[in-house]
Each structure stands twice: as structure tokens, then as C-alpha cells.
């Protein structure tokens, strides 16, 4: 009993924050459980009746994850303030996504009664082959999502064990169990509303974290004076001096561009982001989200992306020498050093929010892909059975993720980034072509998907690290360009496979 009391006495502030936050998420899931199960439209896309501000925050919180708030934030400890460019590039893709894809995707998917990204390919291209495109893309989702979910669950479990002294196994179980529960109960309703709450928390935490180094050191002037005359060393052991403030002196712009494109492109190709467009209620909501999503994302990103560089001002030369090789620990170090339990508790809750918002979105994507885009295509079933099947699939997939999280394969971060690159190269041409090019064909979709996957694999394992000078060029760049060109060329050479005029008229007329 004494151990319990001393544990609570040590962690009570963070426990209150986390229990309050988790209870609210579970309440939202429970609250929407009846409404969500009224039909597939309700469970999968929240009946397309969600306000723009909720979808906007949900898009932001889904795209940004613990990896952004811990991994990317820490990278600037090594790369300096130039790393903030990555945040700017990601924001450019956020704007492109909302301007180019948002309204059209919302309208076309409503007309086609599409509830998932794979079924959009099926209904839009409307041939015998397009049914198989739907199944192929669903399998791609199932495979690629596993590594992403394991990466996030692993990150959250580590935070749990380091902050609350909870064993890693329990940390993974708690984070997956809670997220799985509210997602299963409320479907897309609970995913979007909890995402919105998590988005607010993440936006606030990004600003709070940015302020911490400045408060610690005593102001802006002191901070930049300190950073200009550092006695720390860089990754190769050379004196840093003022390099953190000089553009490109610690990292090449080509590398920044590669990461900026590889991750930023997820916003125009990954189902977890694109599915957000399906649920917006009206034109006013759409315009709100088109304006404010880049604000939420952009401000948060530039706040956290340069954070690591600022943390140098809080570290001794010995601490900096350790952290430069362990950038994932920079944010934790900053919170420890600041030593304010309330600020620490708020920031830790925000980090969990970042992980859970991304997890919930992909859990639902997996359930819908397996049941509606593979099982239902193979053996059609009633709406009630689709919803029931989706819930069971999500539960089983979460159990699978939990098991893999206990024994994570080496290089999980690389696997996750690689899966993102596969999405960008193989999904974007089919989506963009479907929305804008009446002459796009099913054969072009298939060819571009295969090209995207192949070029990703060949560039990464055949060229990138074997040919000198190519290591900074991420595989997503050649894969994206070649798969898009393939889509255009094959469409031009397979005009006989263009869907019937009547079908295109229905989709493209306002």
C-alpha cells in the first residue's frame, strides 16, 4: 500500500492530466456509439456532417504524430535551425492537399457513395479491373499501416515507461487498448471529435514547448547570443560555435528537401489524411478548413522543428555531447531540465495526444479497408454485418500490432518512412487523375501503382546507398515522378478503357 501512495505522490499531477484526457476520449467514443452504428455512412465517414473546424484540427492532429513532436523536434539538435525548413515544406503540401484535393474529393466521393479510398478507385474508374485495384490498394494499406502503428505504439510505450515508470508491455497495452476502444465504439465520429480535442492540445503544447528554452535562458537576446557562441561539438566532434544559426552548415538542403517531400507528400496520398475530406458538412466548413489547417499545422511545425537547436542553450557541453547522438531524448531532456511538474504534465499529455490521434485514424482505415474493400468485395454482406466485421477487424489488428510492438523489428522508423513513400508514389496519381483527368484509365492506375512500388524498392535498395552522391535523394522523388508519368502515358495509350461518358458526366458536373 505504501508503494501505491508513494507512486501517486510522485506522479499525481501527470496522472490527473492523463486520466482526465483519457476519460474524455473514452466518453466521446461511448457517447457516439449508437449514432455511429446506424449505417456504414455513419460509421465510416460520420455521415458527411462534421463541422469544418473539427475536420481541420483532425487533419492536423492525424498528420503530426509523436514522431514529429519528439523525433523531428530532436533532429534540430543535430541539424540546427535550418531544420525548420522541413516544417515549411510540409505546410506547403498541406495547402496543396486542401486546395487541390479537398473540395473535389468531398464532392466526387459523395456522388459515388464512396466511403474509403480503395472504393473510390473502384467506383471512379468503373471497370472489371477497377475492382482489383480496390483490393490491391486495400492490401497495400494493410501492409503499410502495420509498421506505422508499431512505430507510434512503441514511441508512446517508451514515454509511458520513462515518465510513469510503467513497464514497456503495459505502456503499449494501455495506449493501444484505449485508442482501440474509443475507435471501435464511435467509428469516424469518435475519431474526428477526439482528433479535434487532441489537435487543440497539440497546438498549445507546440507553443508551450517553444517557450521553454527561452524562459530557461532568460529571453530572446540571451538565447541567440548563447547559440552564437556555443562551446558544444557537432556530430563529428568539431566545435559548433554558431553553426546552429547558419543555413545549411550542418545539413544539406537536398536532405532537407528529401525529408520535406517524403513526409509532406503523405498529406496528398495517405488514406488517413485524405479520408478527412469525406466528412466535411458544407462549403463554409470546407473553406474554414482550407484556411485554418495550414495555420494549425504550420505554426506548430515551425515551433517544434527548430526546438532541438534551442535546447542547446539548456545543456552543458557534456550533456550536449550525449544528446547529439541521441536526438530522440532531446525533448525529454528539456522537460526534465525545466523541472516544472505542471508544464511537464501538460506537455506529456500533448505527446500522448499526438500519438493517439494518428493511431485512431489508421485503426479505422485498416478496419474499413479489410472489411469493405476486400471481404465485402469478395462476399457482399449487409450494412450491420459490415459494421460488426469492421469492429472485429480493428480489434484483431490492434492485437497484432501489440504483439509486433513487443518484438519490434529493427529499422522500424525506416520501414515507416518507406511505407509512406510507397503510398505517395502509388496512390497520388490515381487520386489526382481521378479527380481532374476525365481521360484517366484503370490500366493507368494499375501501371502507376506498380511503377511507384517498384521504383521505391529499386532506388532504395539498388541505388541510393550504393551510388555516391545519391544518398540524400529520397526514393519518393524518382518514384513519384515516374509513377505520375506512367499514369499519364498509359492513360493516353488506353483511351478505349476510359469510363462511359454518362458516368464521367455524373462525377464531373457541378
Amino acid at each position: 500500500m505504501d508503494r501505491v501512495f508513494s507512486y501517486i505522490a510522485e506522479h499525481w499531477i501527470i496522472l490527473i492530466c492523463l486520466v482526465g484526457y483519457v476519460a474524455f476520449c473514452l466518453y466521446l467514443g461511448w457517447y457516439f456509439r449508437k449514432k455511429a452504428t446506424e449505417g456504414v455512412g455513419e460509421y465510416y465517414v460520420a455521415k458527411r456532417e462534421i463541422p469544418g473546424w473539427v475536420v481541420s484540427l483532425a487533419f492536423f492532429s492525424t498528420f503530426a504524430s509523436t514522431n514529429t513532436y519528439i523525433g523531428q523536434a530532436g533532429m534540430s539538435f543535430q541539424y540546427g535551425l535550418s531544420w525548420a525548413w522541413v516544417g515549411l515544406i510540409w505546410t506547403v503540401f498541406c495547402i496543396i492537399s486542401w486546395l487541390l484535393l479537398g473540395p473535389r474529393m468531398r464532392n466526387q466521393t459523395a456522388k459515388l457513395k464512396s466511403y474509403t479510398i480503395p472504393d473510390y478507385f473502384h467506383f471512379r474508374y468503373k471497370t472489371g479491373l477497377s475492382k482489383y485495384l480496390r483490393i490491391l490498394s486495400a492490401f497495400t494499406i494493410l501492409f503499410a499501416t502495420l509498421w506505422y502503428m508499431v512505430g507510434i505504439a512503441k514511441g508512446c510505450a517508451h514515454i509511458f515507461s520513462s515518465v510513469l515508470d510503467v513497464p514497456y508491455v503495459w505502456g503499449a497495452l494501455i495506449i493501444l487498448g484505449i485508442t482501440c476502444a474509443y475507435t471501435i465504439w464511435g467509428g469516424m465520429y469518435s475519431v474526428l471529435w477526439t482528433d479535434a480535442i487532441q489537435g487543440i492540445m497539440m497546438f498549445a503544447v507546440a507553443l508551450i514547448m517553444l517557450c521553454i528554452p527561452f524562459i530557461y535562458i532568460g529571453g530572446t537576446g540571451e538565447m541567440f547570443e548563447h547559440l552564437a557562441n556555443l562551446d558544444h561539438v557537432d556530430i563529428s566532434g568539431e566545435p559548433l560555435k554558431g553553426k546552429l544559426l547558419d543555413f545549411g552548415s550542418l545539413v544539406s538542403f537536398l536532405y532537407i528537401l528529401g525529408i520535406g517531400l517524403a513526409v509532406g507528400m503523405k498529406q496528398v496520398s495517405e488514406p488517413r489524411c485524405l479520408i478527412r475530406f469525406y466528412s466535411i458538412n458544407n462549403a463554409r466548413g470546407m473553406k474554414f478548413a482550407m484556411i485554418w489547417t495550414p495555420v494549425f499545422l504550420g505554426v506548430s511545425l515551425v515551433s517544434v522543428m527548430g526546438l532541438g537547436a534551442l535546447v542547446h542553450a539548456m545543456a552543458t557541453p557534456e550533456e550536449a555531447a550525449y544528446l547529439i547522438n541521441h536526438t530522440d531524448e532531446v525533448v525529454g531532456f528539456m522537460l526534465d531540465k525545466f523541472d516544472n511538474p505542471i508544464v511537464g504534465a501538460i506537455c506529456i499529455s500533448g505527446l500522448f495526444a499526438a500519438g493517439m490521434s494518428s493511431l485512431a485514424s489508421v485503426i479505422l482505415i485498416v478496419g474499413t479497408a479489410f472489411v469493405k474493400d476486400i471481404w465485402h468485395v469478395w462476399k457482399p454482406m449487409s450494412e450491420a454485418k459490415i459494421i460488426r466485421g469492421t469492429k472485429w477487424t480493428m480489434f484483431v489488428y490492434c492485437v497484432l500490432v501489440f504483439i509486433v510492438t513487443l518484438y519490434p523489428p529493427a529499422g522500424i522508423v525506416e520501414l515507416t518512412a518507406f511505407a509512406g513513400a510507397v503510398f505517395a508514389a502509388s496512390f497520388f496519381p490515381a487520386i489526382f487523375g481521378g479527380l481532374y483527368l476525365k481521360w484517366g484509365t484503370d490500366l493507368a492506375v494499375l501501371a502507376s501503382m506498380i511503377m511507384g512500388i517498384l521504383v521505391n524498392v529499386i532506388w532504395r535498395f539498388g541505388f541510393r546507398f550504393r551510388v555516391e552522391g545519391l544518398s540524400d535523394i529520397h526514393e519518393v522523388i524518382p518514384a513519384f515522378v515516374l509513377s505520375f508519368l506512367t499514369y499519364l502515358l498509359v492513360s493516353k495509350f488506353s483511351v478505349d478503357r476510359v469510363p462511359p461518358e454518362e458516368h464521367l458526366k455524373k462525377i464531373f458536373t457541378k
Partner: protein
Amino acid sequence: MDFLTTLPYVGIIILVCLNAWWVSKLDVTIEDED
């Protein structure tokens, strides 16, 4: 701090303002399921 290091911080403000101005001029319509 040189100009290019500062650019993302200033650039983000300019970017979101330009985007807001552009979106405000757009005629966005949303249609529902048939």
C-alpha cells in the same frame, strides 16, 4: 542568424496569409449524396 535560416519562420506567416486570401476568393460548393 542568416536570412535563409529566418525564412521558414517569416515564410510560414506569409504563406498562410496568402493561402487565406486565395481561399477567400474561391467559390467552393459542396454537394450531398443523391
